[in-house]
């Protein structure tokens, strides 16, 4: 449904409900999008919006309740883990917490080597060793670090190891699930540059999940805005940040503090209240309970994702609102 020139991944009607019974938690509720080859797609939204659940379903770390996930023209949404296995070398994930995602009892050599062994990617000890050294070099770590344990590294270095592990099997698609949020700003910048370089070098396709709107603007080609398991808006990055159409996107951008005291927010509209429970989402538009522009009709109809400009989609009944010009200074 979105513009899909050469999609590497195409998702249709993806749902994930947790728990049985009359009121399951609707973590992801009917999401459709595509990721083009070589593209970095950003996925933003507040906690509980379903970002990580989508990321994990795409590489089948979680089983979808319903829907299709087409990877290289094959629906992988419901295939068995055994059938998944050969595909795993083409899809990898970088996790948020570099402290929890590396086995503390394994040396870096084992952590990286395990991925190579599983997929039979290095034959013989010499080749294995050479590949591990190459991977460490790729992420800016010294080859002699291979004999260390994770606790001997700082957070930024650990995240580099996480990146090296994901790259070990030469994937074509990477899910980066908040890979920067555990890191300090100065270290974040190092990892952002690393991801940019690797993307350019290997033509990686990436789903970049984050709640940091500035990093997403910097890194991504297109962005999806999620709220309560539903897509509110999809647009190319520049369009989304400069001419957001959905009231939620506008509120999210207005709430994000600009690191420039010359541009202080003055009397900006703040969203009231909290994100509702995904076990009992509002009827109609899920955002209507916090939306400053909600009408009675918003409680009746679930707004469909509609194309408002080429490549720019939004799910909102109100077409009479002017797109907010967010960044007045830019042209």
């Amino acid at each position: 449904m979105n513009d899909t020139a050469n999609p590497l991944i195409e998702v249709r009607g993806l749902r994930k409900y947790f728990g049985a019974g009359p009121q399951p938690v609707r973590a992801v509720d009917g999401v459709s999008f595509a990721i083009r080859e070589g593209e970095t797609l950003g996925l933003v939204g507040e906690s509980g919006s379903g970002k990580s659940t989508i990321g994990r379903m795409l590489i089948r770390l979680l089983d979808p309740t319903e829907g299709q996930i087409r990877f290289k023209d094959r629906d992988i949404a419901h295939i068995s883990q055994r059938q998944m296995r050969p595909l795993r070398s083409s899809m990898q994930i970088i996790f948020q917490d570099p402290y929890a995602s590396l086995n503390p009892r394994m040396r870096i050599r084992q952590i990286l080597g395990e991925a190579l062994d599983t997929h039979g990617l290095a034959k013989g000890k010499g080749e294995r060793q050479a590949r591990i050294a190459e991977l460490l070099d790729l992420v800016g770590l010294r080859p002699e670090y291979a004999d260390r344990y994770p606790h001997e590294f700082s957070g930024g270095q650990r995240q580099r190891i996480g990146v090296a592990r994901a790259l070990a099997v030469e994937p074509s698609f990477i899910v980066a699930d908040e890979p920067l949020s555990a890191l300090d700003v100065s270290i974040q910048a190092q990892v952002v540059n690393l991801l940019c370089d690797l993307k350019d070098r290997f033509g990686l396709t990436m789903l970049f999940i984050s709640h940091d709107l500035d990093v997403v603007e910097f890194l991504c080609d297109r962005v999806i805005v999620l709220y309560l398991g539903k897509i509110m808006e999809i647009a190319p990055t520049e369009t989304l940040y400069h001419r957001p159409q959905h009231p939620y996107t506008q509120a999210l951008l207005a709430a994000s503090p600009i690191p420039d005291p010359a541009q202080r927010h003055k009397d900006r509209p703040l969203l009231v209240g909290d994100i509702p429970s995904p076990a009992n989402p509002p009827s109609g538009c899920v955002f209507r309970t916090r939306c400053p522009h909600a009408l009675p009709a918003c409680a009746e109809t679930v707004p469909a994702l509609a194309e408002v400009a080429p490549g720019h989609w939004k799910a909102c009944l109100r077409n009479d609102l002017h797109p907010l010009s967010m960044k007045g200074t830019s042209q």
């Binding site: 507040e46 906690s47 700082s154 930024g156 270095q157 300090d184 700003v185 100065s186 270290i187 974040q188 910048a189 190092q190 952002v192 540059n193 940019c196 709640h211 709107l213 500035d214 990093v215 603007e217 910097f218 890194l219 509120a251 999210l252 207005a254 709430a255 994000s256 503090p257 600009i258 690191p259 420039d260 005291p261 010359a262 202080r264 927010h265 900006r268 703040l270 969203l271 009231v272 909290d274 994100i275 960044k327 200074t329 830019s330």
Partner: protein, 343 residues
């Protein structure tokens, strides 16, 4: 009113060291700053820079087991005009100030609230202790406080437990608790770090409103430069336990003087996107390397190993915090050379 106004809090030469398995380690030294009445000072820095250690030292909240030694002075002007050194007060006097004239909110509201007491009881406890109210008045006061921090259905929330509230609501309760005795100094240690941006904006707007209404001073501790730019009056940047630069917020962002501050601002993707003219994606100018270990501090400037402007003289001694024009300060021996930094 011709005399210079005494700041609400005046910290001079604060230092803190802790006992560890590897011996005594100094994590904060030579920290000095002033916060005027009604003003907001942001203490900015990355993890391990000593921001929280500074604030806990002021409140006298270091864990007993850490065998903290806190040096220096912290002169606080009480409501009655009396000036006291917070670091030299007897424990009983400190207790009378804490939660009363001095209040603090923390990053993680779930771990700072008592899970087995209702929200109302926790707020009431503080006003019964400090303002001597009886149980019923205290609970009434607690309700007033929940109204103050804009918690809907305050009457009902009063009887709920922390786990029944969302993260944003819990932080509002923490603020209600801090505001209960009408403090003159609020220390906010990363109060919005655990919250989503839309909730962060609500909480910051709330703190700003309360500050305007009560005239309290705020020491705002954060690593988020966006929040600093939006809310602080003055900024002190910390690196490896020392203040490396202080300035009013506008000049600091417009023309950072210390290489670390410059590097920190250049790291921000938001700045890079805004600053770029080319169509291609710019690279972030990252600061190379990482913070030095407190066990093996470098011989001279602590930032020298990562600094793009490093020269041999940087390694001879820790540079002093030098006074610059317009009440600014920077801890760098090359600060007057006006060097343009290139990536």
């Amino acid at each position: 009113m011709n005399e210079p106004i005494t700041p609400r809090l005046s910290v001079r030469g604060l230092s803190t060291s802790f006992m560890t398995d590897r011996g005594r380690v100094t994590s904060v030294s030579d920290v000095s700053f002033d916060i005027p009445s009604g003003g907001t000072l942001a203490l900015v820095g990355e993890s391990g820079s000593g921001k929280s250690v500074t604030s806990l030292g002021l409140m006298g909240l270091h864990a007993k087991g850490s065998q903290a030694i806190v040096g220096g002075e912290a002169w606080f002007v009480k409501r009655n005009g009396e000036r006291v050194n917070l670091l030299a007060l007897a424990e009983a006097d400190k207790r009378r100030l804490r939660g009363n004239e001095l209040a603090m909110i923390f990053q993680e509201p779930m771990t700072s609230l008592n899970p087995v007491l209702t929200v109302g009881e926790q707020i009431a406890e503080s006003v019964r202790l400090h303002l001597g109210m009886d149980r019923r008045d205290a609970l009434q006061h607690a309700k007033k406080m929940l109204d103050l921090v804009e918690i809907p259905a305050a009457e009902r929330r009063l009887h709920e437990y922390p786990h029944q509230l969302s993260g944003g609501m819990r932080q509002r309760v923490m603020i209600a608790l801090a505001m209960a005795c009408n403090p003159t100094l609020l220390i906010a240690d990363e109060p919005t770090t655990a919250l989503d941006v839309t909730i962060q904006a609500q909480i910051l707007a709330l703190i700003q409103r309360l500050q305007k209404e009560t005239g309290m001073s705020v020491l705002f501790i954060t690593h988020n430069l966006g929040v600093v730019a939006q809310y602080a009056d003055r900024v002190a940047v910390m690196y490896a336990g020392r203040i490396v630069e202080t300035a009013a917020v506008g000049p600091l962002f417009a023309a950072p003087q210390h290489p670390y501050t410059r590097g920190l601002l250049a790291c921000l993707p938001g700045m890079a996107v805004r600053g770029s003219v080319a169509k291609s994606r710019p690279r972030l100018t990252a600061i190379s390397g990482q913070v030095c270990s407190p066990f093996e501090p470098p011989p001279g400037c602590a930032f020298a190993p990562r600094c793009a402007l490093h020269i041999a003289a940087c390694d001879t001694a820790m540079p002093p915090l030098a006074a610059l024009a317009d009440g600014r300060q920077a801890r760098c021996i090359r600060v007057n050379e006006k060097i343009e930094m290139t990536a």
